[in-house]
């Protein structure tokens, strides 16, 4: 099962290696990862998606993540209400004739067509996985030359915010 996990960490060098190490030591693949600063620049927010066949192992990894000195909190969004977003950029070849079709497709998906240059255009789309999947399917009509996706980011709905370690 896929788990979306968010981790608040001290914004220091080496922290990512410590976190990645816990997964790689068990032969776990990290499916997606996104790291950024928070409002407080001394704290970074990390969102990762991992796949596990053994929930017990993941439970153990989460406890060990929590044990890392630089980790402030670990939240597993699975079984919680949350929204998640991904960003995707697609570079397609786009002749003058295709342009209208591309723009109408973009409009349908709330995407933006940017950087038309010569015979290529870049389309950027933000959405959840499902939306990106569908968009990508439709975009295949055009000749896709490159695809880049950012790691997923997630946020719990309602009042829930990551709490720091218990005193």
């Amino acid at each position: 099962m896929r788990h979306t996990i968010s981790i608040l960490v001290e914004n220091k060098f080496g922290v990512l290696a410590r976190i990645a190490g816990l997964f790689s030591a068990r032969g776990y693949n990290i499916i997606s990862l996104s790291v950024s600063e928070t409002l407080d620049p001394s704290i970074s927010y990390l969102t990762m998606v991992v796949d596990t066949r053994d929930e017990k192992v993941l439970e153990q990894v989460k406890k060990q993540l929590n044990k890392l000195i630089d980790v402030i909190t670990v939240t597993d969004f699975t079984k919680k209400d949350y929204i998640d977003r991904e960003l995707m950029m697609i570079k397609v070849s786009c002749t003058a004739g295709d342009k209208a079709a591309l723009e109408s497709l973009a409009k349908k998906w709330g995407a933006g067509v940017t950087h038309c240059r010569g015979n290529t255009a870049i389309v950027e789309i933000v959405g959840d996985q499902e939306k990106l999947k569908k968009t990508l399917e439709e975009a295949k009509r055009f000749n896709i030359k490159e695809l880049v996706r950012a790691g997923k980011i997630a946020m719990a709905t309602g009042d829930l915010t990551p709490k720091s370690k218990t005193a």
């Binding site: 290696a17 190490g21 044990k67």
Partner: protein
């Protein structure tokens, strides 16, 4: 006042009240060694950095206070790693200081460069690379704090040589506050209540004590609990000394080489009270048939240790001593364990710990005689293998921090340098390293350290001419095909003498006791070469992967 990085380090170590540094010099720590020259800090020059790490570890195990070791960059630091991993596995507070190449050269494959924080990431509780001298004092303070609180462990601080030379204003951080590190110290009151209730209604309770009892200093509370609820106590290798072995409720060590009655007890019990233990596979045996009718209360400071190997009914995260205190307060009524204790007495009679005499020296006898000659007051360290198990089984440890052994990692070569650390901490005590002829050769160079610093450790080599524990497995599970386990050994007596130590060879049973007494008397490092029965086995034994009450050998 402006100070150089190296001086700041030394000043911090003094303020942390460390007793001694074990270390070895090199290019990247020259500024630190220069500061050490007239710092008035006790420094012991080992003959190998691995030994420095083990000695710091031994010092920490014996005293409960962080041990400190120091090594240069590259090979110096990589030589520390086995020691760090050993300390990490057994949750021992060690602070390791390593030199690093100049900041501007890091990542350039500079001479004697190694990515030490990278290499040690998974074998330390935490580590630091100091990139600015202004951070140094706080980092050292944090290193000691992290090493010695919560579930203790080794912390490494890597200091580039230019940072050691740079100057800055020295500010001693009075307090450490790490927002992302706040160990839970007390058990959840609701859980404590539930646990107390569960204990009251148990009929076959068993206390299973691990290293956490030693770490937290919970031995008095543990004893109080056991006596109050009249429950038998068994312990792991790491828990040795947490409960008096000579107490009437004691069952001895459990697990692969535990007593038969302890293993039967845990399998038949209806309530296991695990205190600072982690249900290691050497203790549980085949996990799916482990203690089928037992409920489990698990006290541990590390949430990651709970429900890792077995499902726990009442987890209590907290410091063992605190939680036991809470539990004692909460306990209203105590279970009636009369029947249970009678059953256990029966098992003790039916499956006693015994060994067969023969014409040759029995290792078990040697240990018993060390116990007797030292009146049970020696501090014992061990190597790894049969020697370690015999030392665990046949010496009666009544006090915490008297059995110093590499449990989690099982590091051959640990015992002797660890004994050095113990002896430096307690120069007046008798300190024995119970060694194997294989293991002792892994750090034998430390004879020089001991002799030159008058660290008068006594080494009892149980010389069987084999890598005995491996040979035992080959005998039992590989059709006696002794593949590369026989040893051609040096003359240990001559070897000891060449270092300036004393050497004694013992080939007959009647020489055993006098040799031990002589060794204790001699005011020098003494190595005793006990020529023991070569193919003696450690029994009882539970084959790997078997249920823990399926023992072979001995009388069981």
């Amino acid at each position: 006042m402006k100070m150089k990085g190296a001086d700041i380090l030394i000043e911090c170590l003094k303020r942390e009240n460390i007793g001694v540094i074990f270390g070895y010099p090199g290019g990247s720590v020259l500024p630190i060694f220069d500061s050490l020259y007239d710092a008035g800090l006790k420094f012991v020059l080992t003959r190998h950095e691995q030994a420095a790490a083990h000695a710091a570890d031994g010092y920490a195990r014996a005293t409960g206070r962080p041990g400190v070791c120091l090594a240069t960059s590259g090979p110096g630091a990589t030589n520390l790693t086995t020691g760090l991993a050993t300390a990490y596995m057994d949750s021992i507070p060690v602070v390791a200081i390593t030199g690093q190449v100049k900041t501007s050269l890091i990542g350039n494959d500079a001479f004697q460069e190694a990515d030490v924080t990278g290499i040690t990431r998974s074998i330390t509780k935490h580590n630091y690379l100091v990139k600015d001298v202004k951070d140094l004092a706080l980092i050292i303070r944090e290193a000691f704090w992290i090493a010695s609180t919560g579930r203790p462990g080794p912390v490494l601080v890597d200091i580039p040589v230019d940072v050691q030379q740079q100057e800055c204003e020295f500010v001693w951080p009075e307090q450490v506050c790490i927002r992302s590190y706040r160990p839970t110290l007390f058990g959840h009151p609701g859980q404590v209540k539930k646990a107390a209730k569960m204990i009251s209604s148990a009929r076959r309770p068993l206390i299973y004590a691990g290293g956490g009892v030693i770490t937290s200093g919970a031995h008095n509370e543990l004893r109080e609990l056991a006596e109050k609820i009249n429950a038998p106590v068994t312990w792991t290798l790491m828990g040795i000394g947490g409960f008096p072995a000579t107490h009437k409720l004691s069952l001895g060590m459990l697990g692969m080489h535990g007593t038969a009655y302890a293993n039967h007890a845990i399998m038949e019990s209806d309530l296991i009270i695990a205190v600072g233990a982690r249900f290691d596979d050497r203790v549980t045996g085949r996990i799916d048939v482990f203690a089928p009718s037992a409920k489990i209360i698990h006290i541990d400071i590390d949430p990651a240790s709970i429900s890792k190997n077995v499902k726990v009914d009442i987890p209590m995260v907290g410091d063992a001593r605190n939680v036991l205190g809470q539990l004692l307060e909460e306990l209203k009524s105590c279970p009636d364990t009369g029947e249970w204790l009678k059953t256990l007495d029966g098992w003790k009679k039916k499956y006693p710990m015994v060994y067969k005499e023969s014409g040759r020296i029995k290792p078990q006898y040697v240990i018993e005689q060390i116990d007797a000659a030292s009146k049970g007051k020696a501090l014992i360290s061990t190597e790894v293998g049969q020697n370690q198990m015999w030392a665990a089984q046949w010496y009666k440890y009544d006090y915490p921090r008297t059995f110093i052994s590499s449990g989690g990692l099982g590091t051959m070569g640990f015992g002797f340098p660890a004994a050095m650390g113990v002896k430096v901490a307690y120069p007046e005590r008798i300190v024995f390293d119970i060694a194997g002829d294989g293991s002792i050769q892994m750090n034998i160079q430390e004879l020089a350290t001991c002799v030159s610093n008058k660290i008068n450790v006594k080494i009892a080599i149980l010389n069987n001419g084999y890598l005995g524990m491996v040979r035992q497995w080959q005998e039992l599970f590989y059709k006696r095909r002794y593949s590369h386990t026989a040893l051609l050994n040096p003359d240990f007596v001559k070897l000891a003498k060449s270092y300036g130590a004393e050497g004694i060879r013992v080939t007959k049973k009647e020489e055993v006791r006098p040799a031990i007494e002589k060794a204790i008397e001699i005011d020098n490092v003494v190595m005793i070469d006990f020529r023991i029965e070569p193919e003696e086995n450690v029994f009882p034994m539970v084959p790997a992967g078997e249920a823990i009450n399926r023992m072979i050998g001995g009388m069981a």
